[in-house]
């Protein structure tokens, strides 16, 4: 499969970008490259959801940004989004079913995606029935325990992640306010140094040291903003996707139960269970199996991702303190350097 080949390449040489997400711009591209816009990714995700309703589709980064607050063309924003889109594609390629999806294949290789999109529309209307699910009308009697547990887990999980996201943002805010004060604090030692003779050098040293700590702090909060927050966001959206799949599963089961009930009422007339009900039962079972497999895969990914993420957070903090430590230790000799009479 072409798509897999391409992605293996990209894994080995992370510098080879085969996807460019730059709205309205022209690039000289290497052979295996196509240019995609955000809306193409959105199209792909919709297609995947339609064609693989029983599977968990990874989330896209949020589409809408508040105009004026976030500059959509700023380097940081584009970079954050690029990372998120890259993650999205990697998650699909890692998936045993989604990676073989026809639409995905087209998305990776088609030079002219728009032409395919139009054709797809016509195709969709032809086989619309099989894709669309009848919503409403049926009420699920009882969710099987294991899926109820997954539902509960996802509710708590997204709640806790939301809290962590808020805490992380708050910490970044506090750090930036701390940075503002620290930036005022350091230079005062410099001013004082101007008044003194013997103390001039030590005071200047303290001032420079606080300056170094400021730089370290700035790096820390930048790293947290760039690396920590986006992963949290992805998982919050991921759990929403999962909840959607769970809902669809419930619908399929409800449909089956309704059909079964109808058959039970007319049991005397027809002793044999009709084939469409059997089909429906198969669908529920397939759905359950797919969902369970996806959930397990997701749990594994989540465990690895969070281990990496939280260890990264710890590392960043350790690095920050190490930089400050070096700065303060370096001024001790400056403070002690005095021919003292013992």
């Amino acid at each position: 499969r072409t798509c897999i080949l391409i992605l293996i390449n990209s894994k080995n040489a992370s510098q080879v970008l085969f996807f460019f997400f730059f709205p309205h711009s022209e690039f000289d591209l290497p052979e295996y490259s196509v240019r995609r816009r955000y809306q193409d990714f959105d199209w792909l995700r919709n297609k995947l959801e339609e064609s693989q309703p029983t599977h968990l589709i990874p989330p896209l980064p949020e589409k809408f940004v508040v105009k004026g607050v976030v500059d959509r063309f700023s380097e940081e924003f584009v970079e954050t989004r690029r990372k998120a889109l890259d993650k999205f594609l990697k998650r699909i390629t890692d998936h045993p079913v989604l990676s073989f999806n026809e639409h995905f294949n087209v998305f990776l290789t088609a030079k002219d995606l728009n032409a395919y999109k139009k054709q797809g529309m016509a195709l969709l209307s032809k086989m619309g029935e099989s894709v669309k699910y009848v919503t409403g009308g049926y009420k699920l009697r009882s969710r099987p325990l294991e899926f109820a547990a997954i539902g509960e887990y996802l509710d708590t999980f997204s709640l806790k992640l939301g809290t962590i996201d808020r805490i992380a943002q708050r910490i970044i805010k506090e750090q930036l306010e701390y940075l503002v004060e620290l930036r005022e604090y350091g230079p005062i030692y410099s001013t004082w140094s101007g008044l003194e003779v013997e103390l001039s050098e030590p005071l200047e040293g303290v001032s420079a040291c606080i300056g170094n700590c400021c730089t370290a702090l700035e790096e820390l909060s930048e790293d947290m903003t760039d690396d920590f927050l986006p992963v949290l966001r992805e998982y919050i959206l991921y759990s929403e996707s999962m909840k959607n799949v769970l809902k669809k599963r419930d619908q399929v089961q409800a449909e089956y139960e309704a059909k079964l009930e109808a058959v039970a009422l007319k049991k005397e007339d027809r002793p044999k269970v009709p084939t469409d009900v059997e089909k429906c039962q198969d669908r529920v079972e397939c759905f359950n199996a797919d969902l369970k497999a996806d959930m397990e895969r997701w749990q594994n990914n989540k465990r690895q991702d969070f281990r990496q993420l939280l260890m990264g957070m710890a590392d960043k903090n350790i690095q920050y303190y190490e930089k400050c430590l070096t700065a303060w230790e370096s001024i001790i000799p400056l403070l002690q350097d005095k021919p003292e009479t013992k």
Binding site: I167, I171, P202, R303, M311, I318, T341
Partner: protein
């Protein structure tokens, strides 16, 4: 050495105070006077002084109104250099903050040429908002206790102040001390603020050295107060950063409840986040000691200015006396020669009402000559007094500068050591947390 210096008064003062007397005194002695030969005659060498306790009391003031105040227990013990093994008994007495103030005012007036050590602040100032600004707050009282002890030790180590009798009886005689101070009549010698203010604007030939010193103390005061203000805000923000991390502790623990493999790691990482959040309390409490050291020098700036002011006042008096003398001499000359050099009321009257008799003029000249004589004597003694003042004041200023450079260097070192220990604690906590995360 550094850390001990830092924790002096910080950790071991509540209990076992008497046991650490010698140690504390030595630390301060060393930090005040690096070269100990100056110490020979100091009271601090002969006596150990501590303010060992603070107690809240209620009494009636002069207006017969109920008031609450804090009394401080001063303990003293004579040191005998011959038989060091033996410890002489401890004397103790109670003093209020207002009595410390009286003592300092007395010293200020009696020793105008000395940079008199300042008292700790009466009200908590420049504190970050998590600390209480209440005067009766135990932490504040405790920090003031340390400050008052430091004040007494500074006076006792001062080559001139330590020999003062009123200071000695402040330490040793509980009753009747106030009366004794008032008997010295020091308040009469106190220069009125208005007079001092007047002098500031009128001095014609200010001493350049004192002008510079005054300028320096103004600048020092403004830079230290700015520093203290911003430091309090820095402390506030740092407190915020640490405490918000405490929320991770809770949410990790709640999250761990729904996880299987990740549960244990999250749970214990949450515990480390709690530790991290709690660690800031001690860090900032320790930093308050650094702020107190800076505050002492903020108040020292005022003491330095008092010496400058006194000098200006004396210079002003001297210039006034010289001016008076010159004008008298001129009058005398006018009377003797009969010429009026400048326009004067006397010249006018003599022109209007005719010349005085020679006898009258003789008598006037005589009076004037006597006054001139007197004035010249006065000027001479004022000149001498002024020169003496400048000499002794400058000697003490030099001593103060040395003390300041030494103290502030020590303060900066202990500040850096504090920061280092904070960084190490931070590294430790995050390393522990990382260990937990890696097991997830």
């Amino acid at each position: 050495m550094l850390l001990k210096d830092l924790s002096y008064g910080g950790n071991d003062q509540r209990g076992g105070r008497v046991g650490s007397l010698c140690f504390v005194w030595q630390m301060l002695h060393e930090s005040l006077f690096p070269s100990s030969e100056k110490m020979e005659d100091c009271l601090a060498k002969k006596m150990e002084i501590t303010v060992s306790e603070a107690e809240k009391r209620t009494g009636r003031n002069a207006m017969n109104m109920q008031e609450t105040y804090t009394a401080y227990l001063i303990e003293t013990r004579a040191v005998e250099s011959q038989n060091e093994g033996q410890c002489s008994p401890v004397d103790s007495l109670w003093r209020r903050y207002s009595e410390f103030e009286l003592l300092r005012n007395y010293l200020l007036v009696t020793f105008p040429h000395i940079v008199v050590p300042p008292l700790p602040e009466k009200r908590a100032d420049f504190v970050w908002h998590k600390l209480s600004a209440d005067n009766m707050d135990p932490d504040f009282v405790e920090r003031r206790r340390i400050g008052l002890e430091n004040f007494l030790l500074r006076v006792a180590s001062h080559p001139v102040l330590c020999q003062d009798k009123i200071f000695y009886s402040f330490l040793t005689q509980e009753g009747g001390w106030k009366e004794m101070v008032n008997e010295t009549g020091f308040q009469l010698k106190a220069d009125s603020r208005l007079k001092a203010l007047n002098a500031t604007f009128r001095v014609k030939n200010p001493d350049k050295r004192f002008t510079e010193l005054k300028h320096y103390s103004d600048e020092l005061q403004s830079v230290i107060s700015h520093l203290l203000r911003v430091r309090a805000r820095v402390a506030d923000r740092l407190y915020g950063v640490y405490k918000v991390h405490g929320n991770y502790g809770r949410v990790f623990s709640e999250w761990s409840a729904i996880e299987k493999e990740m549960g244990d790691g999250l749970q214990s990482a949450g515990h480390h986040m709690d530790v991290y959040a709690a660690s800031i309390d001690d860090i900032l409490e320790e930093e308050e000691h650094y702020a107190d050291q800076l505050k002492e020098y903020l108040f020292y700036a005022e003491a330095l200015r008092a010496v400058c002011r006194k000098h200006e006042l004396m210079q002003y008096d001297l210039e006034m006396a010289a001016q008076d003398l010159t004008s008298k001499k001129q009058q005398c000359e006018e009377l003797a020669t009969g010429t009026v050099r400048t326009f004067s009321l006397k010249g006018m009257t003599s022109k209007l009402f005719g010349q005085e008799t020679p006898e009258q003029r003789e008598a006037k000249i005589k009076v004037l000559e006597e006054q001139i004589q007197e004035g010249e004597e006065q000027l001479k003694s004022k000149n001498l007094e002024g020169r003496d003042f400048v000499k002794s004041a400058w000697a003490d200023i030099e001593r103060f500068k040395e003390q300041k450079n030494h103290d502030l260097k020590e303060a900066l070192i202990s500040y850096a050591v504090m920061q280092i220990s904070m960084c190490k604690k931070g590294i430790q906590v995050w390393t522990n947390a990382k260990e937990c995360f890696s097991k997830m």
